[in-house]
Symmetry: C2
Subunit: 381 residues, 2 copies
Amino acid sequence: MSVREILSEWGVGDFRVINKQALSEITLGASILATGGGGDPEIGLLWAYNVVDQGKEILLVDPEAMPDEALATIAGCLGAALVLTEKPPNGQELFWCYDKLRRYMGKPIQAVIPPEAGGVNTPVPMAVAGAVGVPVIDADGMGRAFPELQMTSFYIHGVSPSPTAAADEKGHVTICDANDALLTEHIIRGAAMAYGGISWIAGYPMTGRQLKDTAILRSISMAWELGERVFSARRKHLDPIAEVLNLTGGYRAFQGKIVDINREFGAEKTKGFSLGEILIEGIDTFKGHNAKIGFQNEWLTLEVDGAVRCMPPDLICILDPATGEPIRTDIVRYGYRGTVVLIPAHERMRTEKGIQTFGPRYFGYTHDYVPVEKLMEGKEG
Amino acid sequence: MSVREILSEWGVGDFRVINKQALSEITLGASILATGGGGDPEIGLLWAYNVVDQGKEILLVDPEAMPDEALATIAGCLGAALVLTEKPPNGQELFWCYDKLRRYMGKPIQAVIPPEAGGVNTPVPMAVAGAVGVPVIDADGMGRAFPELQMTSFYIHGVSPSPTAAADEKGHVTICDANDALLTEHIIRGAAMAYGGISWIAGYPMTGRQLKDTAILRSISMAWELGERVFSARRKHLDPIAEVLNLTGGYRAFQGKIVDINREFGAEKTKGFSLGEILIEGIDTFKGHNAKIGFQNEWLTLEVDGAVRCMPPDLICILDPATGEPIRTDIVRYGYRGTVVLIPAHERMRTEKGIQTFGPRYFGYTHDYVPVEKLMEGKEG
């Protein structure tokens, strides 16, 4: 069955064709929303370009158009983005996952949903959808990036990550089917580490109904518009940061130069994450002030002059002030200049179970969650 | 399809019916050959008795009777036997495994082969075979017990452990399908640890041809005869150790009292194994001599007065001199008296790849493998 046949079976006439320009815009937008995580967009983009070059169609469909009983799964990668840059995929990993997962479930998978907004995990599921011949649903599971499998709006609203299949570039596949999301995360991450730090995963099977009830809806078209606006600002020599703030309702919380990076190393210690803390010295209107940002694959907490300004799940993005390009946790270097933008998380991410699952205390911080809107009242630079 | 229908399809009229007495004899024999590992026979026996009580037939079939193209898998448990005693199974784990593995492979599984000789992993596969309705093949993968998934005659003669499914008592299932036996062991053991120390596994799919070419053949009937003889010696107040030595061609290498046990604890350190070393002070003809036995789930090495007398894969069994009952690594206590019996490993276990896979150097000992026959020349007590 081709993607057009699936859409015709669904009675869907309305969709957007994702060409290479669209892919680059969506990927830029998603990598801005990825809060420093989500990996190198080059890898995801090349993978997706390649699928378009092969003449496959990538079609983006509104979640409301998906039938309640049709089945979707996520597709993407799980592990340390730092490793990804040195261990590029061969492009077959996710087809193996899909094939094995489909066989294990004994049901057709009719759609792909990106797990998160990220330089890899947004374009790659599009590539997979194009190659497999199913539509991409205009939604994701976070509206940002997060490090662990259970850290999704799907999970906190009742969808299990199991079964999830994890493959490496040699074709090794592990399937975990456990009615316990933390156990599934533990086993799939164990497989990723056994594979050398990264695994490619397909899983979180959900019906159209579940997707509509739990996902961050229309986040792909939002990332697309964000990417379009930033590219346009660059061409017109306008302030790309202003475009980001306008579209997202975010805050310009800090601006400065990175003066220290404390990165933790060693698999025993980091458990497959990029972990650490950076210090930023203020410039321009922030001169004389200091900021500290903690990270675990993604930027997680911001303190300015010792006062907390943002906690997960709210978004912290460090952007190049001239280009709007995100600075990622895996490539951040001493001397980089960046503007720190804070964006309120989607309301579906802010439930009580959401705060338990990916709030500050889950990550080992000692503060209770306070929404960024409250922390930033009267504080914008 | 019932087990009788499978045997009739195979054209097999010759098989042995395993009743409760047979189960107790086979399990005693297997737990003697388990070299201190293999777990608590009570658990395996109760499981198998229960299947017989339900009116299911457990039929033991000679490996030569299995068609070359029929498919068999192992069934059993993997993890620290110490945990097993505190975390008993509910009896459903392996049916879940079988069901998921069959679905994943998309092929019927027509026979069960015990992975090893052990108090759990010999009767439990019989219970599973009875419950699922397939024959048990009279063979196993070691002719003893060993701690890791790749430590089998199957693997060293070219059969892959993948796919292997691992379940816990809550129904969580992990399937690893990797053309790399050490990686499979690593991931399945990771799942066992995530489950709390023990997992129930089905896997190592192999054809009848592969089984005949790689397994330790007729080891179940050998364990059966061993159990029969030891029970008979007990009834007749004869020396059960002499019966073990007669049937196995083994050596009476030491006799004494356990005076020290150094057990290592902590998941980080032991990686899910029962690890340590015991010291034995000689009595009777061994008075004035000392023995040291290293273990990792199983007894692995024996030194007498500092001289190595046995190395893996040759078998070290510590048996109660009065009953022939084996003393296991998970229950050994200060003050136990035991006779140390050494038994040459099956020739299929002694190949170059065998010594690489489970010889002394694999376990971290600094000696090259020397067969026990050579080490014991003129040394028997």
